[in-house]
Amino acid sequence: MSALPTAALAKDREVSIGLQAAITSMDPHYHNLSPNNSMMLHMFEPLIRRDANQKPVPSLATSWRAVDDLTWEFKLRKNVRFHDGSPFTAEDVVFTLKRVPNVPNSPSSFATFTKPIVDVKVVDPHTIVFKTATPHVLLPSDLASVLIVSKGAGEKAATEDYNSGKAAIGTGPYKFAEYVPNQRVVLKANYGYWGGEEPWDKITFKILTNPAARVAALLSGDVQMIETVPTSDIAKLSKDPKFNLVDKVSNRVIYVHLNQSTEKSPPFVTDKSGKPLEKNPFRDARVRKALSMGINRDAIADRIMEKKAVPAAQLLPDFFYGTSKKLKPARFDPEGAKKLLAEAGYPNGFAITIHGPNNRYINDDKIAQAIAQFYTRIGVDAKVETMPSAVYFTRATKLEFGYMVLGWGTESGEQGSSLRSLLATYDRNKGMGVTNRGRYSNPELDKALTIALVTMDEKKREALIQQAAEIAMNDTALIPIHYEVSTWATAKGLRYEARTDQYTLASGLKPAK
């Protein structure tokens, strides 16, 4: 008789979760990709973790400080054990930093985050000092992306050994149980976890890339939670008392880059008769502003996104680090936009083709269509051409388009890094403007960002980034459309702590009280 309640209890502590994208590896340093990073956080931990709002909080490090401009001291957590029972010490951190840039065949490595560190000193098993060549205030933020692996298990291990589970030894709340690429990941609870007891004994993540299949799996009870509920099913699920829906604005902004790389017409921009223009209209701030005012962001958020989007004024929602509360989304004002275009010398408008992906962001092709329709009201003829992301991004990077709908997720949770990637003057070797497909260039903005990068005082630094954001956005350096809102649906009786980074973490899924 006594066996019965235990068995029932054990079953209750099992959960299945439907994920939208494949996990390409169980090696935490192989592929810097959101779905992987989210999955790895179950088994491995960074020195500094990001909470549901992407604020940095202590994880394997208990405290950290900048000793001087080039030196950082981290105190490590004591009494932490890896899944195999070995203790966690500074040696594991040293080993991890060595391994990160040297993972063979990595299609997207984490070396970007460890590169600024030029020297590591182990003071004692729980104190470690990092040296950088130049002042690097983002070090704590960078290290939040680097997961610590065990030296003992990882020393001779290759990516295959992580995939097989042999080397997948971390300090995290869950342990490796099974990995079948493109199909499922099974994890078991790590009962010795330093952070206390977790809600689940066993978690099965199923890869359900088809949105309808994901919803069907939830409806039929095959999984108890799904991520990224398709917008068309949100209304139905939110009315159904058997399910709970949670959502949260994410760190992903959908925006438009305007190609300013050419003196004359950029590609796919002409006058209304199809002839190239004498000047590149996108180099005129008034034209950029008009194109921003010509978009009805509220209508896109309400109708196309089923309210699962928030009109955007900058690159991150304004509760993130480095965002300015002064910036507000451009108001829809077709008359004002027309006036601005006339002032800039285009009283009759011009013609553009809006390019965008059709399988990358939520409703990406419909957003492009909507923008084209709004533009007829400001006298700009807009055609729409969308294509699979496999084709689109290669061509966009080659600047083959004029008006590009794009998206950007800020994994670091601080606006400085997005401004640097998207709007600083393009210089790939310096790591500035690496994804600046608009080739916007503003010395004032570059200056603010460069100073911010070496300003160690947090308050001063944030003020500088806010200032940079205001410079860029008041100049309409790009056109922000909206922030995507991520949604999760759970079976009734469960509640998920929604996150801004769109991660799906079993630790955040708990029985509702």
Binding site: A22, T24, S25, Y30, H31, N32, L33, P104, N105, S106, P107, S108, S109, A111, T112, K115, T159, E160, N163, V180, P181, N182, Q183, R184, K206, I207, L208, T209, N210, A212, A213, A216, A217, L219, S220, G221, D222, N359, P388, S389, A390, V391, F393, T394, R395, T397, W408, E411, S417, S421, R428, N429, K430, G431, V434, T435
Partner: protein
Amino acid sequence: MLAYTIRRFGQSFIVLVFMSFLVFVGVYAIGNPVELLVNPQADEAERIRATAALGLDKPFLEQYWGFLKGAAKGDLGKSFVFNVPALTLILEKLPATIELAFVAMVIAISLGIPLGLVAGLKPDSFIGRGIMAGSIMGFSLPTFWVGLVLIMIFSVHLGWLPSNGRGETVLVAGIPVSFLTMDGIAHLAMPATNLALFKLSLLIRLTRAGTREAVLQDYVKFARAKGLPQRRVIGVHVLKNILIPIVTVIGLELGSVIAFAIVTESIFAWPGTGKLLIDSINQLDRPVIVAYLLVIVSLFVVINFVVDVLYSLLDPRVRLGGAAAAH
């Protein structure tokens, strides 16, 4: 027969080489995989490193030559995304797809031929018309819609069958199969039915047309006049004569079911190669795309060969290749 086989496979080999070249050119033209794989925040050094790690820094022809050299040794390259040999990735998924395709074809054949015979023998009866009406539905309803309706009925409302995935497997001759376990059958039932529906309708129509033509032939009338029982007239005289086109179509369709079960696989999250192919195309994972198409072309070659052999068994007048040429 031997000469025929050798020539047949020689031709197939040329097809394989030619196709691998086309795929290489195609993927090269679509886009740059590094663009999709590398984190957008990465700097130039990281891009250069990733390009080199994937071997994409070499000139196009050198990349293709490297592939050919590897292929000669049975190495079709490593997946850009998963970092495992592309062939391993595919062979791991292939049993699931082949199982699904075979079960679907078994359903289609075992129902399609008898139903088609009935409809052909009694074209004007209520049953005959009912079967034909049903086959029109099977033709015209889109696969993904039928799949979703099946899930809504049997998983969501009735709760009888699981909505996704493959069930428990057992090893038969080293290959994992799921149709021998109860759990496996429960998982297999809906996707196999879904996949079978179109082929079933096709076979019904084909069998019916053949039957209607055959029953009017003199040899059938003669067999009847001889007083042969109905069962023998239909089973031997009618069926055997109409089987040639049916076997051809079954062969072709089996190939296409294996190669293009993509829609069904993604709706039911069936862990087969179709899903793998779509994901690989979206990610421009060239080694997997190339390896997949090579495997599928090889499969078609084998199936067509088996079909040819079956012809000669069904119709003694058909002689395989070499003999015919010698006439």
